[in-house]
């Protein structure tokens, strides 16, 4: 069997017709992942016992004639910021190199209850902070499409395993673009659902008002299926929404005739032909499918980065205060007093990007600055959200680029953190508004690097977003 091109449908058919068992599939997938992973460093560690145990349970359910679940036997990879009970979860940080969680994230519980087989945990930027996966304490990930380039970040490993074929689908997390940007760099589908759609219980907190869990897949239907499994109210996350979860895969074939799509002019004006040309061809294709395409304006876009980097770092400085050498992190040796121990543990343990963001966040929250920075940023966030709310009065979806450039070379941008922050411009706005957004592959640059198209819709209208992505996917 060709592991690298499996889909959820192929696996379901294979299990039903007894062409292979879940255990055979899991064994083969583990073998393939182990053989291929050294090329990319996308997996931090494989979980053979857990995977084979889950696969055996699926085979037993099938043997008893039971429904084995919508993800029965599907090899899944999980970003290493999502807690897996009894299986090391590092968050890409030296501080948590030996951390073994005492409980599962809700998303993990749901995906294993649905028959999903977790193959292992994937590399990421430390505490999900970065756009290139070069901030991992365990080494960077290489983009499987071009091994001298980054896979994007922070969910670089989760995007890379799906592109490489060492997992069928995966989970990532997105705070300002950390699913969509690596999806576009690696040429796979990546989905950031509505804020509150998926419980974050067991997701290591970065910026609580912005954090999301979402799926990666090689096709739109698989991403929709995985989201359907993990979405829904969870009493353990007070921000998870009561709103019912529809069957996302049901409407995928409904077509897009008559749908109104908005192209925000602020997003297209500075686009280079390298990424602009494939995106333009994708918009033409949607028009040919019967979409009504029009220009719109999201006037506060240029203020989004500043707002985001205040809110995200302020919340991060608070959330990361818990890594103090007492309860779950490693501890700096040779500290005489408790306060020295805190300072040394954190100074030695955090990488440069985490320190930079903790410093900025602490600064903007420090005495006398709250109104000028955090409060102001929250007001600007309201303006960015209002831009979208107004746009959705006249269009059903917004079509936008994902990143100003395709995957760049390893090391190319590490010395310029501000340039890195600015490159998040097209993904941060949707994050601030909390609306569903996804990246779907839409073509290549002249150098053969993948380019993603971003689709954004109203709160809880994932169905329309998936419908547009699925219709476009059929034309490719």
């Amino acid at each position: 069997m060709d592991i690298s091109s499996l889909t959820i449908d192929i696996i379901r058919d294979g299990l039903r017709s007894r062409r292979f068992s879940a255990v055979e599939l899991a064994s083969e997938a583990l073998r393939f992942a182990e053989a291929e992973n050294p090329k990319t460093n996308a997996y931090l560690r494989l979980a053979p016992e857990r995977a084979l145990g889950a696969a055996r349970a699926v085979d037993e359910r099938i043997a008893r004639g039971e429904d084995a679940g919508p993800l029965a036997g599907v090899p899944v990879a999980v970003k290493d910021v999502i807690l897996t009970k009894g299986f090391t979860t590092t968050c890409g940080s030296k501080l948590l190199a030996n951390y073994v969680p005492p409980y599962n994230a809700t998303a993990i519980e749901r995906l294993e209850a649905a028959g999903g087989v977790i193959l292992g945990k994937t590399n990421c930027d430390e505490f999900a902070m970065g756009s290139s996966n070069e901030n991992s304490a365990f080494g960077p990930v290489r983009n499987p499409v071009a091994l001298d380039r980054v896979p994007g970040g922070s969910s670089g490993g989760s995007a890379a395993v799906v592109a490489q074929g060492t997992a069928v689908v995966s989970l990532g997390s997105d705070t300002g673009g950390s699913i969509r940007q690596p999806a576009s760099f690696c040429g796979v589908v990546g989905v950031t659902p509505t804020y509150g759609r998926v419980s974050r219980y067991g997701l290591t907190a970065f910026a609580s008002s912005l954090d999301h869990i979402g799926p990666f897949a090689r096709n739109v239907k698989d991403a929709a299926t995985l989201l359907g499994v993990i979405a829904g109210r969870d009493v353990r996350d007070a921000t998870s929404a009561e709103t019912p979860v529809p069957d996302y895969s049901a409407g995928l074939g409904a077509g897009v005739k008559g749908l109104r799509l908005g192209l925000p002019r602020e997003y297209f004006k500075d686009l280079t032909p390298e990424t602009g040309a494939p995106l333009g061809r994708a918009v033409d294709a949607l028009q040919r499918l019967g979409c009504d395409v029009r220009d719109i304006s999201l006037p506060n876009t240029e203020y989004a980065i500043a707002s985001y980097y205040i809110i995200a770092t302020a919340e991060a400085s608070s959330n990361l205060a818990r890594y103090d050498g007492v309860r779950y992190t490693s501890r700096s040796e040779h500290s005489e007093t408790l306060s020295d121990m805190y300072r040394n543990t954190r100074g030695e343990g955090f990488g440069a990007e985490c320190k930079r963001r903790i410093m900025l966040g602490t600064y903007v929250l420090s005495s006398g600055y709250y109104d000028a920075y955090y409060l102001k940023a929250q007001k600007v966030r309201a303006l960015v959200a209002r831009d979208f709310a107004r746009a959705f009065e006249e269009v059903d979806a917004v079509i936008a680029p994902v990143s100003p450039f395709p995957a760049f070379k390893l090391g190319e941008k590490v010395d310029d953190p501000i340039a890195m922050y600015l490159s998040d411009i097209y993904t941060i706005t949707g994050s601030l508004a909390g609306i569903p957004c996804m990246s779907v592959p839409c073509g290549e640059t002249p150098d053969g690097l993948p380019v993603g198209m971003q689709i954004l819709t109203k709160h809880f209208d994932e169905a329309t977003m998936f419908r547009i992505a699925a219709a476009f996917e059929q034309t490719a």
Binding site: E242, R327, M359, T362, Y363, I418
Partner: protein, 97 residues
């Protein structure tokens, strides 16, 4: 200049981060550049705009039932501690003299 090295050291103290001199210099320059960009927000008049502290309000208004459930348990909570005693986390001495 938006921020001095002394301010960087002060903020590092608030954040419980030990930084060496090279880091202080580097973060001063980085924060300076970022704060410069953030100044862009002063172009906007946000008087009368309500701050957006969370995305959803009505969809998450319901509180869970207040029903006791088993806690994590002492052993599980202590399992990852770098230094533990019987039912407690151990730390270096707290009172400095």
């Amino acid at each position: 200049m938006k921020i001095t090295e002394d301010e960087v050291r002060y903020v590092a103290g608030l954040a419980n981060l030990k930084l060496d001199d090279a880091e202080v210099a580097k973060f001063r320059a980085d924060l300076d550049g970022i704060l410069e960009h953030i100044d862009k927000l002063n172009e906007l008049d946000v008087a009368g705009v309500a701050p957006m502290a969370q995305v959803l309000v009505e969809q998450t208004a319901e509180l869970r039932a207040d029903v006791p459930a088993p806690p994590l348990g002492n052993d599980a909570a202590l399992a990852n501690a770098p230094m533990r005693g019987p039912g407690l986390f151990k730390v270096p001495r707290v009172i400095e003299r």
